[in-house]
């Protein structure tokens, strides 16, 4: 310490430095702005009740793919074709003819989604999956009718790419210029099948559920093509059960109420058209099969606009079982009865003989027709 008290000049740094007004405002202002922004962000994000961050996005709803079809009341609802020689192209054409031909269902510029059953990685001869030749001729017909795009999709039980390859579906899609849409996770989206949660007491199984949505969203028309086969739990997997392949999530829980879910699936999708592939019917060891001994060639194709009646006919005539004892047909009949649209068209009959009596079910046999 020195004795003399000297005047200290204003320092550049250190405790005694002069702070300019400009620097004070600039630095102080920055700090105040940062503090205000922090507090503002916190207040803006604040969730007082604590559930705002848990809100679910609104589920989508599936449109009615039959609504755009101009379908006369008097036209047949179910059309059956047999050909002992399995000339598939001719069979598909002949089956569609009484319904008005493909032109009634597919318009120029449509995007058509075909939903075969590709559930398992099996050779097509084993009857566990839709026969690729049926898919091929439907793709061709759609193209001929002017479809802009044809998509083929399914969410198989086994690994998807392998299933599409082994069943031959991918090959025919590639050859005919259709696009196979494999079930990638981001294609699924929650879909409201019914607006309320399902009530098991009323045999309802599906409320809002993740569905293979992306291809459905793109499509203008949806055609289901399903093999007719034995099923260990619900007795038969046919056309309504085919829509199970659009479900995502942990869908195997539905087996605890399988008739409820299959009859719900009939309402999940209102398809433009369904085609039953009864060329090679899997009569036992279903739904997987795996042996030619499990297969009975039935040489039959059925085109229909009423999937319940089509299932009932196939169950009785291809699997040779009694449809009055198949619970999901009865449930579907009841549920379709409650559905305003189906009711107005009197679709969803589980007693196919009613259609036979009124001429809405027609049969043809092409076996003796020349090529």
């Amino acid at each position: 310490m020195t004795e003399t008290h000297q005047q200290v000049p204003p320092a550049e740094t250190g405790p005694g430095r002069q702070l300019s007004r400009r620097e004070f405002l600039l630095r102080g202002g920055t700090t105040v702005a940062a503090a205000t922004a922090t507090a503002g962000l916190a207040v803006w994000l604040h969730d007082d009740i604590g559930t705002a961050g848990l809100a679910q996005p609104r589920p989508a709803t599936i449109k009615n793919y039959f609504a755009a079809v101009d379908y006369p009341e008097s036209a047949p609802r179910v059309s059956i074709v047999r050909d002992a020689r399995d000339r598939v192209d001719g069979m598909v054409g002949a089956a569609l003819a009484p319904l008005g031909g493909i032109e009634r269902f597919v318009r120029k510029g449509d995007c058509v989604l075909i939903k075969p059953n590709v559930g398992f990685e099996r050779d097509p001869r084993l009857g566990a999956t839709t026969h690729p030749e049926v898919v091929r001729s439907v793709i061709r017909l759609c193209r001929r009718a002017g479809a802009r795009r044809v998509l083929v999709t399914d969410n198989p039980i086994e690994q998807a790419a392998a299933c599409f390859a082994r069943t031959g579906i991918r090959a025919v899609a590639d050859q005919e210029g259709a696009r196979v849409v494999l079930p990638v996770e981001r294609y699924f989206q929650p879909v409201a099948v019914r607006p309320t949660p399902p009530d098991p007491a009323r045999n309802e199984a599906l409320g809002t559920w993740p569905i293979l949505w992306a291809p459905l969203e793109q499509a203008d028309k949806v055609i289901g093509i399903a093999p007719i086969k034995d099923h260990n739990l619900c007795s038969a997997s046919m056309l309504m059960k085919n829509w199970y392949g659009l479900l995502g999530g942990r869908r195997n829980q539905f087996h605890q109420a399988i008739h409820d879910v299959i009859s719900d699936l009939g309402l999940l999708v209102s398809p433009t058209l369904v085609i039953a592939d009864g060329l090679r019917v899997l009569i036992r060891n279903g739904p997987t099969g795996g042996s030619l001994n499990d297969v009975r060639p039935a040489h039959t194709l059925v085109a229909a606009v009423d999937q319940v009646a089509c299932d009932a006919w196939c169950y009785e005539n291809l699997l040779q079982r009694d449809p009055t004892r198949l619970r999901y047909l009865e449930l579907a009949h009841r549920k379709f009865g409650l559905d305003a649209y189906s009711q107005s068209r009197r679709f969803g009959r589980h007693d196919w003989r009613e259609y036979e009596r009124t001429g809405l079910l027609v049969e043809q046999d092409l076996s003796n027709r020349l090529a």
Partner: protein
């Protein structure tokens, strides 16, 4: 063209090939382009350390491993060119080191000084090779090609998907996007750490740890060419060290076993004092690694006892884990451990993602070997892709006929991975009065191994007391034996017991868990009366008890048909820590082999009658 430019092109080409091969390793690519089978595991097949170590464990050189000669022979002439011209992992390290290179000449020179730690890799090599001689293959833990294949498979490629979008390849294979690998994060972290160590010292892994580099370093003593310094031109400026990848002292007596033949020193020398010379004098080089004799003996001893050390756990024999299911075509466990590199290319190609890297389920030595996790996937029936890509035959290459026991292989039957069992306490039909049967539905063999039979189970509150009865109907007391779970008296909902094909309801006149006496199906019911589908032989008098039973299918297992594919376990809706049906290795085909460590595992459970 400058020689270093040629080197960079070579590094880029091989790195690109590595990336291409590993991304193309998928079942759909293999089936669409069968020619790929030749290429997909090529980087592992040319790895001389893979060839040398598997030759030590198996005394053979498996199939494509002959290709290791394309690296071995040139190394004998040129030295460790592989490390800086071919090795994709080396290129990754080179690239990381270049991105984070030091500023200033002196810092660069310091970073590339030779350090004594470089000797560690020779001890690692000796230890692993001696362990291999005694039957356990561990080189894959650190071999750069095996490491980089494994890291890319289990953690680097699966990173795609978020936030970087997953890549969709033609044919439907998707890169990233939901590939799951248990403990993959450990390998991802190890990969990241090894790369960041380049910030501490360039090429740290290559210089210090790499056992393949060590092997090539030992072999480089025979090479006819090497870098030679001309002392008459050299002014001892040390500029040659600034880019030296191997830290091999080109400024003094060249350490030939450390030199990566990167040619940076020749490019960098301002005085033209360095050249790649034919047969230069032994006096101006350090020929071999400076591994000490005592260190080598210690390393050899650790390798010698490694096998007994890990196998003392008993995990390969009597305490073999019930969770270890090996891929189809895998050889017997001890042979498997002699062959499996842990390259995890089987995991990469597996279409269902069922194959997972093991942690210590089969003991320490089984780390990162493939095991199945049926919660993630299942063994696809017609797929044998894992055997196609296995470079060492740990998984033999089966045809689909051989796997399924069809056609020419019908005699020997299908390859069984294990056997499925039911946990009755978890199974919905067996213990929870709930119909299910997903396992039977999904069982892929024909005839199905899982079959079903109808059984009846007494309902909770199923004992009811009779107020009136005829042969075809039974009226029950409104409040029979108690109250329901809500405390309300037990009244029936109309049609409650009508049932369907999946489940039906029955009345027995002698209720009890193993009710004897007649069982009659309930056709319908109203609020207190059951209408019966058939006539009762003995009409129960009022006041007696009857039981209401639910009847549905319960699953049963025919173990002689089960192939252990795990589809049932995968699909079981009881999704807790353990499914209600699960696969264990009992009955696995590979243990039927004569020299199997535990032949008990191959004994099939007797078919119940």
């Amino acid at each position: 063209m400058r020689i270093t430019t040629a080197r960079i092109i070579s590094q880029s080409v091989f790195a690109a090939l590595f990336l291409a091969f590993i991304t193309l390793t998928s079942l759909s690519m293999l089936s669409d382009y069968p020619a790929l089978r030749f290429w997909l595991s090529k980087f592992l097949e040319i790895d001389p350390l893979v060839a040398v170590s598997t030759a030590m464990t198996t005394h053979t050189l498996y199939k494509g491993l002959l290709w290791s000669l394309v690296v071995l022979l040139p190394t004998l002439f040129l030295g460790r060119f592989f490390c800086n011209w071919v090795c994709p992992f080396g290129t990754l390290h080179h690239l990381t080191g270049w991105l984070f290179h030091r500023r200033g000449l002196q810092a660069k020179i310091d970073a590339n000084q030779y350090r004594r730690s470089a000797v560690l890799k020779y001890y690692i090599l000796v230890g692993m090779l001696v362990a291999a001689l005694f039957g356990t293959l561990q080189i894959g833990l650190l071999d750069p090609l095996v490491f980089v294949h494994r890291a890319f498979t289990v953690n680097v490629l699966p990173l795609l998907g978020r936030p970087v979008p997953a890549l969709e390849l033609p044919g439907g294979a998707v890169l990233g996007g939901g590939r799951l690998h248990q403990f993959g994060w450990i390998l991802g972290f190890a990969f990241f750490v090894l790369l960041t160590l380049n910030l501490v010292r360039p090429r740290w892994f290559c210089r210090v740890l790499c056992p393949l580099g060590a092997l090539l370093g030992v072999l480089s003593r025979f090479s006819l060419w090497r870098i030679e310094r001309d002392p008459r031109r050299c002014v001892n400026c040390n500029v040659c060290v600034q880019g030296c990848e191997g830290a091999c002292e080109p400024d003094a007596r060249l350490r030939r076993s450390e030199c990566f033949v990167c040619f940076n020193c020749i490019e960098d020398c301002p005085h033209g004092a360095l050249r790649f010379a034919f047969l230069p004098s032994r006096a101006s080089e350090v020929t071999g690694p400076d591994a000490g004799r005592r260190g080598v003996v210690l390393a050899a001893l650790s390798g010698l006892f490694f096998c007994s050390w890990t196998r003392a756990a008993g995990k390969t024999t009597r305490d073999f884990s019930s969770r270890v299911i090996r891929p189809p075509g895998a050889v017997e466990e001890l042979e498997f451990l002699e062959r499996c590199l842990k390259c995890d290319q089987c995991l990469r190609v597996c279409p269902t993602n069922v194959l997972q890297p093991a942690l210590f389920e089969t003991g320490l030595e089984g780390l990162w070997t493939p095991v199945m996790n049926f919660r993630i996937g299942f063994c696809q029936l017609h797929c044998t892709a894992c055997g196609y890509v296995c470079p060492t035959g740990a998984i033999q290459h089966l045809t689909v006929d051989e796997k399924l026991g069809l056609g020419p292989a019908a005699e020997q039957g299908p390859v069984r991975l294990g056997t499925a069992h039911f946990d009755l306490g978890r199974c919905l039909p067996w213990s929870k009065n709930t119909p299910c049967m997903v396992c039977e539905e999904i069982c892929p063999v024909s005839p199905k191994a899982i079959y079903s039979e109808y059984q009846q189970f007494l309902l909770r509150d199923g004992r009811k007391s009779v107020t009136a009865a005829t042969a075809n109907s039974v009226t029950l007391a409104e409040t029979a034996t108690g109250v329901d779970s809500t405390g309300a008296p037990c009244r029936f909902v109309a049609h409650q017991f009508r049932g369907d094909e999946t489940a039906s309801y029955h009345v027995r006149t002698t209720p009890g868990p193993a009710g004897t006496g007649q069982s009659v199906r309930i056709a319908d019911n109203n609020v207190d009366t059951l209408a019966l589908a058939a006539a009762l032989e003995e009409v129960p008098p009022p006041g007696t008890e009857v039981g209401i039973y639910i009847e549905y299918k319960v699953p049963k297992m025919d173990t002689s048909r089960c192939i252990g594919c795990g589809l049932c376990e995968h699909a079981c809706p009881v999704v807790g820590d353990r499914r209600a049906v699960y696969v264990t290795p009992e009955g696995e085909t590979r243990s039927e082999h004569e020299g199997a460590a535990d032949r008990n595992r191959s004994v099939r459970l007797r078919k119940s009658l």
